[in-house]
């Protein structure tokens, strides 16, 4: 075969596949959102945004992302630096810490349900310690704060691993000489972290944050398992429109709103953490 054509032949299946199942659905979803069967309309967006649940689910989604992502960033940075100086047991510890990476968001929600439900382990523990007389129902409309905390903990538990893996891989790429030089010039561990690790880690931080923030706006199954309708989020509303209300146009409109938010945040993160040309390792 002509060697100049070979690479194109090899990438053709992926390109076709992604055009058909990634780019084309975007056109379709936009079509669905902006039409009512006869022509162009903004009715779907008007319907969706004027619904009383919309501002609440928008607020909830943002609040959750705002609470979860910074914690995960700090936690994964801490874990990555701890692993980096580990001599014995590194593989075992890393395996344990990355276990949640393979766990579905639905399973994570169910796991934390085991802790927070009325006859669950948190109540059993507090009862066992004599802190409470009878089990309280944490996941009810009377305690919205607890519902939020439960969902937040489940999200931190589940999705910190994905950032950890990216950051550990990134730290592994930083040349050891930089740290040795830092030590020679008397930099403390904290200074080495601030002046060497963080700046050199920029590309990995960028990827980790983009992935994580997009996942945060997609939050769905964890919320369904723990809060159900108590804590409406955007993705849950999409599902609701599609299934319970059988309104595909409205579902598409919310989908487009989530897409817009995701793209906006991706651009912001890419811009804020951009790597100067020629500064890669």
């Amino acid at each position: 075969m002509n060697p100049r054509l070979l690479p194109y032949v090899l990438i053709l299946p992926v390109t076709l596949f992604l055009c058909l199942f990634f780019l084309y659905p975007f056109v379709l979803v936009a079509q669905q959102a902006f039409s009512d069967g006869s022509g162009f309309t903004l009715d779907n967006f008007r319907d969706v945004t004027s619904h009383w649940k919309f501002p609440i689910s928008l607020k909830n989604t943002f609040l959750l992302a705002l609470a979860v992502v910074p914690i995960q960033l700090a936690l994964s940075l801490l874990m990555a630096t701890m692993v980096n100086r580990m001599k014995r047991g590194r593989d075992l510890i890393l395996y344990i810490w990355t276990i949640p990476l393979g766990i579905s968001d639905l399973a994570a929600g169910i796991i934390w349900l085991a802790i927070f439900e009325q006859s669950g382990f948190l109540n059993s523990m507090m009862g066992g310690l004599g802190l409470i007389d009878s089990p309280t129902n944490f996941l009810s409309y009377q305690s919205p704060m607890m519902v939020f905390v439960a969902i937040m903990l489940a999200e931190v538990w589940r999705a910190t691993a994905i950032m950890l893996v990216i950051l550990v891989a990134g730290i592994g790429l930083i040349p050891k000489e930089y740290y040795e030089a830092g030590e020679v010039f008397g930099a403390t561990a904290w200074q080495r972290f601030l002046k060497i690790t963080l700046p050199m880690l920029r590309p990995s931080l960028q990827t980790a944050l983009v992935l994580r923030v997009i996942l945060a706006f997609e939050v769905f199954a964890v919320v369904q398992a723990l809060g159900g309708t108590l804590f409406p989020v955007l993705m849950g509303e999409t599902y609701e429109y599609q299934f319970t209300l059988l309104n595909a146009g409205a579902a598409a409109a919310i989908a487009l709103i989530i897409l817009g938010i995701s793209i906006a945040f991706t651009l912001i993160i890419m811009r804020a953490l951009r790597v100067p040309k020629g500064a890669t390792i």
Binding site: L10, I103, A107, L113, G127, P135, W157, T238, S262
Partner: protein, 281 residues
């Protein structure tokens, strides 16, 4: 004077020792943070339905298979389990079969449009892909593959393909092209050289990325719930019955979701960091 310096040295040693203890305590604590919730799920799974719904909870499993038997006998759940496995297996095969050639092309050839192609792959990361299930649901009805295992596997393949391409790209890049060239001089053509020299070397890595694709599909909730009605996967089944199913069914289901993930992450742990480290450049 001498006393003073030994004092200082002693204080230094003490703080270092204290720091060591804090470090070890933090590692143990973070391991517990990951493992304890999983342990709670295990207790619930290995307890009788009565124990699961009772209060206070035991902190040691009673090794009763009541909940798991209930799970296995629940109408439709074994079919859902079978569907989950089939969709994940199909996803695994399709994403590697379509993705690996592109990974090879990216690592071995310089061609026009290479950057554009990489951009297309990376672009998929900046979008909440499960949302694309909404327009695809309509498209699938038109084509006649709505509510089928194959249709859902197509969407899951879209999720897995970017990873398959980037991981295989990094695997092939790790093998010196000289090996291939040597095989050509010894009478192999491109295809036989690939079969006899490259394939054996990358096979373990390809297996790892195939397992990764399997887990992505196994864990996916939203698209599965949107695209399947009669042929639901396990995640879709559990999600749609969250309001009505008893606690012991949820926990047993969550456990069944978690187990393969644990095994898979263990199986690919060697590749996890190499895969992510290079795949994210």
């Amino acid at each position: 004077m001498t006393a003073e310096t030994t004092d200082v040295a002693e204080v230094g040693a003490n703080t270092r020792k204290a720091g060591q203890y804090v470090y070890i305590a933090a590692v143990v604590l973070l391991c517990a943070w990951v493992i304890v919730p999983l342990y709670f799920l295990l207790i619930n799974t290995l307890s009788s339905p009565e124990a699961v719904n009772s209060y206070p909870k035991p902190f040691i499993p009673e090794f009763d298979l009541g909940s798991l038997t209930f799970f296995a006998n629940f109408a439709g759940i074994l079919t859902a389990l079978k569907n989950s496995i089939l969709v994940a297996a199909l996803t695994m095969v399709m994403s590697i079969a379509i993705g690996a050639p592109a990974g090879y092309a990216l690592s071995r050839f310089e061609f026009r449009g290479k950057e554009l192609f990489r951009l297309l792959i990376l672009l998929t990361r900046a979008f909440p892909l499960p949302l694309l299930a909404l327009p695809l649901a309509v498209m699938f009805i038109r084509v006649g593959i709505d509510d089928t295992i194959f249709g859902l596997a197509l969407v899951h393949t879209t999720l897995a393909i970017p990873f398959a391409v980037l991981i295989t790209f990094s695997l092939f890049s790790g093998i010196p092209i000289e090996l291939e060239e040597a095989a050509w001089t010894l009478g192999c053509n491109r295809l036989t050289a690939f079969q006899k020299v490259i394939l054996p070397l990358v096979l373990p890595g390809i297996t790892a990325s195939a397992i990764f694709a399997f887990v992505i599909s196994w864990n996916e909730v939203f698209a599965a719930a949107v695209l399947t009605i009669e042929n639901r996967t396990l995640t879709a089944f559990l999600l749609q019955n969250l309001d009505t199913s008893p606690l012991h069914l949820k926990f047993a289901g969550g456990f069944i979701l978690v187990v393969p993930a644990l095994i898979f992450i263990f199986a690919v742990r060697k590749y996890l960091f190499a895969m992510w480290g290079i795949a994210n450049r």
